[in-house]
């Protein structure tokens, strides 16, 4: 098997030639994203929706709607499921004079899976990239490294860790590039998800379910039909105004979800100035779980017209989501209670396309750096 990271070797050679390298102890080290990135992104994207007080559906005015699950054998609505994954590894610090930058390599990817009539899952599309990340402007040879990587082929990409993208600087505040790399990789992964989601060829009536909240750039999705986002870890900050007598009732998320029965949804709230409809669906009975927020997913539905969304459509989608509670990735993912199994499978499809950590550590070595030089 040829070294899958061979394409990055010329760039690493330039770095070792031009600067002093302080390699990561014991080869590449995986940098993990903490806290839960999905929740952070959801919080970021709903930063302007602290108070959800407008209902965006008609004719329903009830705060909770109980539903009968719609199984695929009855009506198979949800056909495509999309998820991405990113793994970031710290290779070492590069020092040029008084300036320095950490160097990272990320494996990022996204996959869409298709569910057949019999429930079996096929991979519809999967993309993967290996990204070299560093603070390009911190060193004199940053541009050259970028040029070399961009010539290495479509599998490889270069990204400036410090480049602003509207999210990373919020999710990983501060100027420290090391802490930003994993968040940056997730941002790049979201771009791959976005690319697959927008270009996926689907027949009418075949809904696409995205993992996580809808991206900021909904304009680019304006021609994409029948999709919505499902978030399993969501922001707990919003406050809701429920319809009712004497002007209704204002409650927080905990109160909203404690009252949400099993196999039911909340009413749809307007977010992002009505361009997105938001509601919550309880997939699992509370008595089986530890906490009221468990077993609930948040649904974000694109609504470019900003008109009220038909409640019937919301019910159909929600009922189809409730049917997704079987089976679960219990034991494989701590978020199993709110995880849709096909989304989990899409995530697995991406992860299985990644090179293993062992191969990555063996394949990514600083050229020309021997053990004794590291000690010195």
């Amino acid at each position: 098997m040829r070294n899958p990271f061979e394409g990055l070797r010329p760039a690493l050679e330039v770095i070792t030639r031009e600067a002093r390298v302080l390699p990561a102890t014991g080869q590449a080290i995986e940098d993990l994203v903490r806290p839960d990135h999905e929740e952070v992104i959801d919080r970021l994207r709903s930063v302007h929706d602290k108070v959800l007080d407008v209902l965006l559906e008609a004719p329903n005015r009830e705060p909770y709607v109980e539903l009968r699950p719609i199984h695929r054998t009855e009506r198979h609505l949800l056909r495509y499921f999309l998820d991405g994954s990113a793994r970031t590894f710290f290779l070492g610090d590069v020092v040029e004079g008084t300036r320095r930058t950490p160097v990272h390599v990320a494996q990022i990817g996204a996959a869409a899976v298709f569910r057949k009539d019999n429930g079996q899952i096929n991979v519809a599309q999967v993309v993967r990239q290996i990204v070299l990340m560093m603070d390009k402007n911190a060193v004199s040879f940053g541009e050259e490294v970028q040029r070399i990587v961009s010539q290495a082929g479509p599998l490889y990409a270069f990204h400036d860790t410090m480049a602003e993208d509207g999210e990373t600087e919020v999710t990983a505040p501060g100027k420290e590039p090391r802490s930003r790399a994993a968040h940056k990789a997730h941002h790049l992964m979201a771009r791959l998800e976005d690319e697959i989601g927008r270009t996926l060829s689907r027949e009418e009536g075949q809904w696409l379910v995205l993992d996580g909240s809808l991206g900021k750039d909904l304009y680019s999705w304006r021609d994409v039909p029948q999709f919505f986002g499902v978030t399993k870890s969501f922001s707990r900050e919003p406050i809701f105004k429920l319809p009712g007598a004497r002007g209704g009732q204002v409650i927080n998320l905990y109160e909203l979800l404690v009252g949400l029965p099993f196999s039911a949804r909340t009413c749809v709230f307007s977010a992002r100035s009505g361009k997105v409809g938001v509601w919550y669906v309880r997939l699992r009975e509370q008595r089986h779980l530890d906490y009221p927020l468990m077993g609930v997913v948040k649904v974000e539905f694109p609504n470019p017209s900003t008109e009220a969304i038909p409640s019937e459509l919301i019910d159909e989608i929600s009922a189809a989501l409730i049917a997704e509670r079987q089976v679960t990735p219990h034991g494989k993912d701590i978020r199993w209670h709110a995880h849709l199994y096909p989304i989990y499978l899409a995530e697995q499809a991406v992860k299985n396309s990644f090179v293993s950590s062992e191969v990555l550590k063996a394949g990514l070595k600083w050229p020309g750096i021997t053990h004794d030089r590291i000690i010195r």
């Binding site: 199984h71 695929r72 054998t73 569910r115 019999n118 429930g119 079996q120 899952i121 009975e285 089986h288 049917a323 997704e324 509670r325 079987q326 089976v327 679960t328 990735p329 219990h330 034991g331 494989k332 199993w336 199994y341 096909p342 499978l345 697995q348």
Partner: protein, 587 residues
Amino acid sequence: MAEELEKDAVAPSERRIVGKASATERDPNSSEKFSFWLAPEEIVNPFDIIEAEQMEGTRTFGLVTNIKQITDAPSHLSNFISNDFGSPTSTPQTPRQGANVGEVSVLANYDPSEPKRYPMGIYMPVQSDAPVRFADEAGIHVALGIDKMFEYEKEYKEKITVPAGLLRMSNGTKVGVYLDKRYVLGPEGAHVNIAGISGLATKTSYAMFLIQSILQTIGAKDIAVILLNVKQNDLLVIDRPRKGMKPEEHEMWEFLGLRPQPFENVRYLLPWGKDTQTTGLPNCFGEPPDQFQTYAYSLEDVIGNRIHPGPGLGLLIRVPDPWDTLGALIGEIQQGIINQEPKWKSVTTWDALLNGPPLIDKGVPQTVKEVRASSVGRFIRILRRVVKNRQSGIFVEQRAPRRAANLGEEVRKIEGGQTMVVDIAKLTDEERALVFGHIIQEIYAMYAEATVDERGELPKKVIIFVDELNKYAPARRGETESSILGYVLDIAARGRSLGVILISAEQFMSEVHGQVVGNCSTKVIGRSDSSELADAAYRFIAQDVKAHLTRLDKGELLLAHPIYRQPVKIEFPRPAFEAIGHERLGW
């Protein structure tokens, strides 16, 4: 035949791929074993033979030993929770991801190129993701090493393949399975042992099928067969064609290149009974065959004479004799009678031996040389029980040669092409041991002590079939022990060089002497229970395969042969002779 197979064979690339080899961190492939995942909807079963593409364009054949389903559920609890917290009626929206994984024991590697670049084969582990297909007929023969038999036949113009049954695979492929004559009739190996609780008459039926197969393919004229009938009248009708054979039974015989025909040139030897003197009928179950001869034992027949010693009294005394007291006394008696010593001259009948001098005087046991009177008394008590009180009628005071034959003399007259059926179904255990011991002693003496000229007159091979071998060659020394064991061990060890072949059967191989089983080159096992299969006698079967042996159907057997790298599951056609016993018992 090999050429025909090659001509009819479908190129591997045209056969459907059913899965791909799979090697993982925890379950790597090796030179001996590999795993493969199966495409959904594909069905394979244990004992199917599959092939995987191997390096350098070669193919690796293997026997499926087990199939497992793996899923991504880390625990049963996860599955419980996934079914809506234990709802047995729920249907998953997305079925849990799982795969059926077959475990395979490598049989052989085949290099299709000519001249062969890898004549020894490539035994590198099957590489992960190598396409896997069902093997075809030619492939199965390569896998089992049968192709080498065909090559030998072609090169030396000598028939060595003996049809042994039919291998049927999950994809519908039917393949004839063959034994190598050199490992069945010698000289490379010999003997066949059949064990199991497969069902009524399955073991006997298979033995009859195999003997018929040997006679039809190797040539009946040089082979003599001696069959011991131990159950009902099962083997007393083997020369009568079976009526109402179904077309599929005919087809199975013909598929294996055999004719469904009964045995020819059969002699029946039936035991003398208590009523035979008056009725003229032998002591057998049901109607005797049209042509038969009775046999009986007088004292002289058991002891014999100087030229032809008899089977001996030792075969009748099946009690522990740790100090060889009874053995010494038997030696004295036999020596005295054979040498016609003065004090033994009057001992010519069983009555004379048991009631008169020199063993008894006025009703009191006497000391005989160093053997004390008490031991003599014990010997008389045991012998009286066997030849007088509990006998079936086979022991007679005087045998009239025209009415009852001496079994030893009849055995010595056997010729090539002849099948002799000796009925022992109604005999007591001691009598059965005497008859079987007498037969193998005579056969062994005929071949082991024959001069070169005498050998030329004997059949080239003698096949002896006996059921319930555990009674004659028990694994453990015990109360039923008798001197017959020595004869059986001799036949087992030296039979292949002499041309004396033992085809034996028993329910439990664990109860048969290890040396006898060990010397049987070919082992056939029917359904057996798991406690029996835990015995060391079944070491040659892989653990996974053992589990499947507990649920073999009637008519299905596991066949282990030195040429095959792994045992295979076979079916075989019902005997073509009139099997009264089988039909009555529900075959």
